[in-house]
């Protein structure tokens, strides 16, 4: 018959101590692993959107584009005609790690913004309507 | 063959006493720790958290003041509301202007931060109490604009 005295036994205080340490470490991990500040990222994206809007609105046509942003916003025919050119302009302006969507009263160019990530916004009132610039990290 | 051992009445401790000793040791430990924490570490951290909130508040306020200034060409008077917490570390405080810097005046600490403003700002003045609604008011004057910290109406 197995000897009762030889049975191994886990000491309860050791278990209690282990649980206590795990609890403390779990609380501490909330300090160490704090999530990055989403509002900071959104503020930076808002700045990107504002700069993009400035660049689009005042762009030098030495590259060949003569259509102003206000004209693109005002007229559906102009928008349709200048859509591709607008897309090229934005893609030349933005750094590679950003995606965009430009909305005018007559339509939009770009990609679909994510629902769960920060998106920067800038609204540009032009003579022909409000243009909305959205940018986000790819 | 078992090794010789003590008789019953010569055992070091009974289980009950040993448990009681263990519990009281732990209670002692908790007591000492609580005293040490609440006496020293916790107030220090509350102060540090308060100062950190103060620093963030001051940084946010100085950005808001800078943002409120319109480019030199526009004529409009600007009034912009600013968000600051009503109390920090349980006390109200003041934010005022000294020498084109913002100073956060709190009973426990003071922080100062120079303002970053465009050149056409002629003067900056005024102060806020954290209990009132803080408003930045920019008015056009000869040669530029003035910036004032005023209390807004609660609406």
């Amino acid at each position: 018959m197995p000897d009762l005295d030889d049975r191994a036994q886990l000491s309860l205080p050791v278990v209690e101590a282990a649980v206590g340490v795990v609890l403390v470490l779990a609380t501490l991990s909330t300090f160490a692993l704090a999530p990055p500040d989403a509002s900071t990222r959104e503020a930076q994206l808002d700045r990107y959107a504002a700069d993009t809007a400035s660049a689009l609105a005042g762009e030098s046509p030495s590259h060949g584009e003569a259509t102003r942003l206000s004209e693109v916003a005002a007229d559906e025919a102009t928008f349709d005609r200048e859509r591709a050119a607008l897309q090229r302009r934005v893609e030349r302006i933005l750094p590679d790690n950003l995606l965009y969507r430009i909305e005018t009263p007559h339509g939009a160019v770009g990609y679909d913004p994510p629902a769960d990530a920060p998106v920067g916004v800038e609204r540009v009132p032009t003579g022909g309507g409000t243009v909305v610039v959205r940018v986000w990290y790819a | 063959m078992r090794s010789p051992r003590l008789r019953d009445d010569q055992r070091g401790l009974t289980p009950v006493v040993s448990k009681a000793l263990g519990v009281s040791l732990l209670l002692l430990y908790v007591g000492v720790l609580s005293t040490a924490l609440y006496g020293g570490v916790v107030p220090d951290y509350r102060d540090a958290a308060g100062e950190e909130l103060g620093e963030r508040t001051l940084a946010g306020a100085s950005l808001a003041v800078g943002d409120a200034v319109p480019p030199n060409a526009t004529d409009a008077t600007v009034e912009r509301r600013v968000d600051i917490p009503r109390t920090i570390r349980g006390s109200t405080y003041e934010i005022r202007v000294e020498n084109r810097s913002l100073v956060l005046d709190h009973p426990r600490f003071t922080r100062r931060r120079p303002l970053t403003l465009p050149e056409h700002v002629v003067s900056v003045s005024g102060s806020w109490t954290s209990t009132e609604e803080p408003v930045v008011r920019v008015d056009r004057v000869a040669g530029g604009v003035t910036v004032r910290l005023v209390a807004g109406d609660r609406s």
Binding site: V24, F31 | R7, L25, A48, R56
Partner: protein, 235 residues
């Protein structure tokens, strides 16, 4: 005879106290770690908020239309970038006074003081505009005729008008629009803003002949390059 569990009780008693001692030790160590982490986290947060606000404010001033390096909103002048240095920036923006900072445009460091390793960075999208000046000295007719077409676009034109004797220059037109007019005759150097969005044709109205050299037309073609402005501040 001792009951079979007695020995175990005594051993367990000692092991209890030992375990309690170890538990206390472990908890104290965890607490010490927690204190250290909290201290580091708070300290880092405090500095970061101030650094970010400074970087945002300075980058905002640099891209503004009235900024020291800007030609217009979000357009920076290449020669101003060449001339920029950390001392003048720190003097202009006292928030940078006690900090180490770096301003880069594209890959080029525009101004740097110290080494802002742990700093906070704010980025803006800008255009770097390099402007040069070119001068033409064409022969022009004074009857408002064909005039001269400027080969590159420019936002302003500088005219040096030195008509020979018996010649009067009364009006200068750009694309048909009158930019200079003086019924008694134009003379000297005048600078005229024009639209950068169009190719420009210059024509002159007056009397007499204008051989080459009597009118010098200086224009300022610009090359634009997109870049990112980065301001990093380490307080």
């Amino acid at each position: 005879m001792t009951p079979p569990g007695a020995d175990r009780d005594r051993d367990r008693g000692q092991a209890n106290l030992l375990a309690i001692g170890l538990a206390v030790l472990a908890l104290t160590a965890a607490l010490g770690l927690g204190t250290f982490l909290a201290e580091t986290a708070l300290d880092g947060e405090r500095r970061a908020a101030g650094e970010r606000a400074t970087a945002v404010a300075v980058s905002g001033r640099l891209v503004a239309a009235d900024g020291p390096l800007a030609e217009r909103r979000t357009v920076l002048d290449a020669s101003a970038l060449d001339a920029a240095d950390a001392e003048s920036l720190a003097e202009r923006y006292p928030a940078l006074a006690d900090a180490e900072f770096r301003v880069t445009v594209g890959d080029r460091v525009v101004a740097e003081r110290g080494d802002p390793i742990d700093g906070t960075t704010v980025r803006r999208i800008v255009t770097v505009r390099e402007t040069e000046s070119r001068t033409l000295t064409p022969e022009l007719s004074t009857d408002g005729g064909p005039g001269v077409t400027l080969p590159r676009r420019t936002d302003r034109v500088r005219l040096r008008i030195e008509p020979p004797p018996n010649t009067t220059v009364r009006t200068v037109r750009v694309d048909g629009r009158v930019v200079l007019h003086d019924p008694s005759g134009l003379n000297g150097t005048h600078e005229v803003p024009v639209s950068r969005l169009e190719t420009l044709r210059l024509s002159v109205d007056g009397e007499g002949r204008l051989p080459a050299g009597s009118i010098a037309v200086t224009y300022f073609p610009a090359t634009d390059r997109k870049a990112e402005l980065e301001v990093t501040v380490d307080a």
